[in-house]
Structures are given as structure tokens and as C-alpha cells.
């Protein structure tokens, strides 16, 4: 998927969880990504973060620390 599209989608998710009360936003973003993003997509996101994560909401970067690396 194009990097722009991936960044846009990840940031949309962050925007929602940011608006929720409490301080678990990063954990909930990570859970959402783990539940709905196929391994290839998570890998692409993690790779992007590894190279600086340009364009990503800081919360997404925070969340990726808790994101399980795809099995296989």
C-alpha cells in the first residue's frame, strides 16, 4: 500500500483513541492494529517507524512499541 495511505489510516485510528477519556490511547491503538491489520500491513508500519516514522502521529509511534510483531 502506498506509504501515504498507510500513514493516513494509522493516524485516523490514533485520532479516535486520542479523543477517548483515560490514558490508554497507545495501548488501544496497538490493540486495534493487532486485531485488524494483516501482518503485511503491520510489518509495513513497523518498517516505516524503524526508518523514522515520518508523517505518523506520535501516538502511533508510541503504539507500535506495544504492537506484536507479526507471527511467521
Amino acid at each position: 500500500m502506498s506509504p501515504d495511505k498507510m500513514i493516513h489510516m494509522a493516524n485516523q485510528i490514533a485520532t479516535f483513541f486520542k479523543s477517548q477519556p483515560g490514558d490508554e490511547a497507545a495501548a488501544r491503538i496497538a490493540a486495534h492494529l493487532g486485531d485488524f491489520w494483516e501482518p503485511r500491513m503491520r510489518r509495513q508500519l513497523l518498517d516505516h517507524v524503524a526508518t523514522g516514522g515520518e508523517g505518523l502521529d506520535p501516538l502511533v509511534i508510541e503504539a507500535t512499541k506495544q504492537l506484536s510483531a507479526p507471527a511467521d
Binding site: I13, T15, S19, E38, P39, R40, A71
Partner: protein, 958 residues
Amino acid sequence: MKDFIIPWDDTDKGTPAKTGAPVTLTIDGFEVTVPEGTSVMRAASEAGIQVPKLCATDSVEAFGSCRLCVVEIEGRRGTPSSCTTPVAAGMVVRTQSKKVQKIRRGVMELYISDHPLDCLTCAANGDCELQDMAGAVGLRDVRYAAGENHFEVRQNGEANPRYIEKDNSNPYFAYDPSKCIVCSRCVRACEEVQGTFALTIEGRGFDSRVSPGAANDDFLTSDCVSCGACVQACPTGTLQEKSVIELGTPSRSVVTTCAYCGVGCSFKAELNGDELVRMVPWKHGKANRGHSCVKGRFAWGYAHHQDRILNPMIRDSIDEPWREVSWDEALGFAAARLKGIQQKHGRRSLGVITSSRCTNEETYLVQKLARAVFMNNNTDTCARVCHSPTGYGLGQTFGTSAGTQDFDSVEHTDVAIVMGANPTDAHPVFGSRLKKRLRQGAKLIVIDPRRIDLVRSAHVGAAHHLALKPGTNVAVVTAMAHVIVTEELFDEAFIKARCDWEEFAEYAEFVSDPRHSPETTEALTGVPAEELRAAARTFAQGGNGAIYYGLGVTEHSQGSTTVMGIANLAMLTGNIGRPGVGVNPLRGQNNVQGSCDMGSFPHELPGYRHVKNADVRAIFEQQWGVEIDPEPGLRIPNMLDAAVDGTFKGLYVQGEDILQSDPDTRHVAAGLAAMDCVIVHDLFLNETANYAHVFLPGSTFLEKDGTFTNAERRINMVREVMKPLNGYADWEVTQALANAMGANWTYTHPSEIMAEIAATTPSFAGVTYDLITEKGSVQWPCNEAHPEGTPLMHVDGFMRGKGRFIVTEYVATDEKTGPRFPLLLTTGRILSQYNVGAQTRRTDNNIWHEEDVLEIHPHDAEQRGVKEGDWVKLASRSGETTLRAKITERVSPGVVYTTFHHPDTQANVVTTDFSDWATNCPEYKVTAVQVMPSNGPSDWQEHYTALATRSRRIEAAE
């Protein structure tokens, strides 16, 4: 095999059923007990005594005009009509006496004297109540000489001024005034059942005639929506299906379910041999209660359309013409390619798309193909592009994605919110049921950018129409909550008992912030604050409040958030868990609900259980004897992205046309073109098939057994009415493909597939074909706790325990208007066509909708020099297309609207790849566009038409 023709009692009891306290009376010496308010006629019928009748039928209220149904009642003078006389306790009725017989014969004599006596050649011969009644009353001679009448074309050598020619304008039924007995059943059916008010009785006395629309109208030009209710109600051959005129009266019938929309109407398919003669809505159908719309009733001709492909076809590459081959060769070819792809590109390089048009059993097998044969979770369904946000939003708040009510519930609703839905077009039978309730006095709030028909139509109107700017749903819903919370209109007792109070407190604090007030949000939503306040008050204080919503809610980048906002509103006002209330997603296609239930989504197994849960996987691993991938699979848009990236290479698509139905056509085309094996399993060479390597012919809903699940979670039987023209039902084809890949499946009937579903899925545990057949239909959850199914959800508590209020912050979509694209495009559908139109376009329904048009406000049109009917170019950052303009005030200035039923228009060339944050459901409902005059098709349209023509070539068989 079992005979599925069920001996239901279809007797016309003359007047509608009532629900009052029991009343006991005596009819011809027999005691009978019926609810208060029942007519004597119906009471007699309950006792097995049919009183002769003409103007009464049990689909409409009695009118009492023919006087054929007269009876004698002890202690009452004269001979009252039994259809208009309500029962009373202790009443003693005689339905047969010299006196009433004489009256009845006189009545019949008068009718017959103005009726042509060509019964033997009449299309209604054998199916005519006038004939039956003439027999029943013992009419033996007609003493009146034919004087002035309505049926002779010429009289005394001159044209008969009373004779009116047959009206053949409607493609599906004819109106022959010469046979009309002016019983007004049709007029009442159009008013009471359909709610369209297209028919009137013109003139008085002997001169009175049924007339569609205004003076110069025929059926086609009138308001008639061709639902067929009047045709069913007509006791004579006056209003008659053209298929019956052509093919003769049917001799057998099979009860089945409409395959068009999510209402899921039950029909009787009436046949001679294996030739379908007509589809008649079944009065015991619990979703439709005997009503239907033009699609299910009449638009079934596509089953025999010449375009239907009946033999499998293959080709090495998509530039080649198709080659017709045997089933074995096609399946062998497909299996070899798929296996080759997996060897080269890995396990996750293949996927499937299940169909919301196919049965539950078929869908179940397709996702099983992905999970148990491809060994991955790459399965998705077109529900992705419509109701996936409902799944997520309601799942988060209530604990299940299911709609909470049955359709009957609307009969108890006092205030209905219809949001982002257009029921009279997209869910017509529900639309009619809602209108009926509105005519009884319920209030309506419409939240939609467009002035849909419900806002103002015959005898109903909306109390409030919040014509919001596309993309501001969350702001409007949150502002309504603001009013309800700050004006303290919420149902504290309900919230305390049923919801998490702490979460409510947080939520209340959030919505109370002045930035959510209607006054503040007015600037962005375009909804006047006072109007919004008034609507919120009406909803909170008006009694039973129900929310019905459609794709105008879900197909947004904040679709899931809006669904949560709707759930919040229902909980705030205590409108959950009883008749007349609830949150009701109106599903698009017939089996959207079912395809979701059956595990079509890449992250969940059947019954909405996430694949990450080892205990759930274990159930299926044991059943299937394979190991299930614990990782979620790709969703449709992700599959296409992966295809463009080169890691996704093979796709099996059952009964969907993603090229036409999914957004950003060019991206879809690029994804499909990048794959090595696209298998399309469908009735026709659809648009997606232009990019396919294997075509497997599909079967229609008339040609297979199975079940559909409608928007009420109601599991309805689909029954094989005739044998599949292509040789195999769709479930057999999927099984053959799986077996060609080495799966060794051995289903011999869909009931065995349902048994497997029941064995693995708790909410279906109690479902069997026998139970559905016995009950007519069953609403899931159906299990030990609810052995007969569940009409209303969350009655004693929410699925998830406590209902959860979720904060819904409005976020503007990134799809913004600007100087290049100053208008907002939103999309929808119309009554006569269905989704991508593959079926309806192949019927006479085209008479009502030949092409997609662009609705534009006069102000915007004038600015651009666009006139009614002009070709215009519609451009967005994704692409452009051309279509004709229709100038109308239904849309607000700044908003344009179109449908997407026709492949030539390709409205989705224009839609973008933005999607719902939670589910990737595409943002169909908001695209920034520009409109300008044009003189012909866009480059893409021309390019595409050429490609489609080339791609559809079929090599002549040697």
C-alpha cells in the same frame, strides 16, 4: 428429498386480524372466540365458514360497498354487511338464509350484467373471485339485458363512450377497465399497504372508474411504484400480471425468499412445471406481511436472460478471448494456478470474497475455503463497503453488531429517526410499513443531506428534516446528545440500571461542552440550531423512539463513530429492549447480515469471534482438521493494495462485482490486473470478470436450497424452485473447487452445511431447516436460552453486560472541498434498480431508470451553465466520468448526488480511497468534486468500454 410445499393456511379471511380482548359469539350455531374489534366476516372465517364477499380482503380495512357479505344477526334489524360489523359478546349470527341468499344473488346479477362473459379466455379464469362468488351464491340467470355498460367496445354501431381501453403501460401488469367491478380494493391497497396513493375512484355511481394519477396519466406516468399490491388485491382479471396473461394460471407454488434487499420478503413462487409464472408476496412472511416491491415481485426475468453464462470458461491472460471448457477442466485449471501461486508467493497470497447475495451456506463454504484450504484468513465480503462500521460500532457499545428489533416493532414506534437511509427506495417494504405508522400519527425525523421522499410525500411528512452537510454526521448526533443531556431529557433510571454509570458521567461531561451545542456546530453542519434542538426534544420526549439508519451513516471516514453516537442516543433516551424502539441498521443486500454472521470478515470466525482466540480456533480446527491462522487477514481494499505491491496474486470472487461496486475504480482495476488468477463465480460476465482468468457460472436464488438472513437477523428459507440452468448450485461449485485443491468435502445438501454452522456457532446452535420450516423463519440468537429465536435484543440486559457510552469527537474528513473541487458528491440508490444493477438492468425495470443521473441544485447548475438533461463531467481527484444532469431542489446548494447502478457511468471512478477509521469501509458518501458541461464520455469511459468489449469475447466453440 423432502417436499417443501407447505400446507399453510392462505385463506383470505376478509378483514385484517385484530388484537383486542377475547369475545365469544355464535355463528350458524358454532361458538367462536376472537379478539375484540374483529369483523363478523373474519370470525366466521375463523370458524371455517366463508361468507361470500367481493370488496373485502384481509390485506385492507373493510369498506362495505358490495353488500354481498350480508348476514342476519339476532336482535338487529335488516341485513348488516359482515365485513364492516364488529363482533360483540353473545352475538348470534346466521350467514345463510333465504333472505340473504336472495340479496346476494341480486347483487351478483347486477355485477355480472356489467361484466364481459368471456371467462374461458380471461387470464384470471380459475383465479377470479367474481367467478367464485357467482358460483357460491348460485347465480343461474341474469335478468337484465345488457344496456349501458363498460365492456362493449361498440354499441349499436357506435363507439361505446363508457368503454376504456386496456392500459398496458406498466411492463409487468395490465389494467383492463372493462372487467372492473369498482370494489376499490386496489385503491385501498395502494393507500393502506403501499402508502403511495396512486389510485383513485373517479366519477360517481355507475360512472365511477379506477384511475391512476391525474386525468391524463396511465400507470407508468402516475406515482405508481409498481409494487403490485393492487394486483394482488384485485378480485378479478382487471389488474393482472402480464406473465399470467402470457403463460397461464400457475398450478403449484413454493415458498421462498427475495434475493434483492435486506428486508427479506417471503414470496410464493408460482409455477407450471418448472416455468416460473409469478412471484406473489406471502402473507405469512414475517418481514413483509404479504407486501412486496417491484424488484422482488416482478424483476426476476434475469434468471433466463440471454446474457447469462451457463458454461465454465478459462483463459491464460485477460487479453485473450474466453474459452468454454468442461467443469473439470475449468476447476483443474483454477486449482493448478492457485496452488502454483501459493508455492511461489506463500500461503497468504490468495483470498476470497464472499457474497451478500448468496446463501448463508454458500458464504460459509467460501470463507471455509480461505481458512481451511488456502490456510489463511484472507476473506472479506461486500459488507465491508456498507455495514462494517455497524459491526464495529454496535459491537463496542452493545456487545453485538445485530440490529435490535424486528420490523413489526415499527408498529409501536412513536418517533422514528431515519438517518442516512432512504427506505422508500432502498428498503421499500419497510418504507411502506413505516409510512403506515406515520399515517397513524407517529413522528418522523429525517437526518439526510438530501430531501428524500419520506420528508414530504402523500399523507406523510417529516416533523424535522436536518439537512446536514455530507460528512458531519458525528457533529449532528453529538449535538443532539448535547441537547438531551444539558436539558436533562435523558432517562436516568434506564442508564443507571442498564449502562456503566461512570462511562455515562464521562460521556455527559464530554457532550455538555458548549463546543457540541447546536449553536456552535451549526456553522459546520448547516443544520439550524433551533431545528436540531426541536428534533432532539421530540426524540427524547415523544414516547417510543426508534432509530433506523443506512449507508449514509456508515460510508464515511467516521462511520463507526456515528454508529456509536446513534447507540449513545438510544441508551440516553432508554430506547432499547422493548417493541417500538431500538437501533436498526437497514442492510443493503439481501444477505449482508448473513454474510457477516458466517465469518466472512478476515478477523473473525463465524459468529463474530476473533481469530486470535485460541479457544474459538480450536472449535473449527477440530471440525475441519486443519490448523487455523491466528492472524487477521486482508480486507478488500488491503487485498487490492497488496496485489498492486505484488504479494497478493489470486482471488476467488463469488457473486460480487467489486470493480463496479468498490470505490476508486482505477485502483481496483490496477489491483485486479496485477493478479495471476482471478476466479469470478457469477451469473453474468460482470465488470470484474473483465480481469478474470476463470469464469464459473453461478445459479440464481430460484435454483438452490439454503437460507438468507435479513436485517432483523431473521433466517428465511430459500428453496429450489427449479433446477440450476448452469448445472450446479453455488455451494456445489465452491465445494468442487475446494476438492480440486484436495479438500475432500462431502456435503450433499445445504442442510448439512447448516448443521455444521449450528455445531460450531453458539448463536446458531438451535437452528435447523426443520425448525425454520416449522416456524416459517427464525431470528438468531437461537439456542438453548432462546429455542425459538430472539425477536428483540437486549431485553433484560445488553449482550456485553452494561451498555457502554463512548465519546464521539467530530473529526472533519480529509476529503475537503476547495477551489478545484468545490462541490460535495454523495451517492445512493433508487427503487427499481439494485446495487450494481447486474440483475435489475436485465429486466424491464430499466423503464424507470435507464441511466444514472447527477442531481444538482438549480443554483449550482446555473453558475455552471448546466441545463436539465445536459451531459456533464463529474471530476474528483481520483478520476472523472460523465453523465446527465437533473436539476432539483432535493439536494442543497453545494451538494450533488448520483446512483451507481450502471457500469457505463462508473460513478466509482470518482470516489476516493478514504475510508472509515476502524473498518476501512470506504467513504462513498463524501467526495469533493467539480461539475462542468461536457459533450461526451470521459477518456476513462471510452478506454474502459473498449477494454470491456475486448475482454468479453468468447471464442466460438469448435
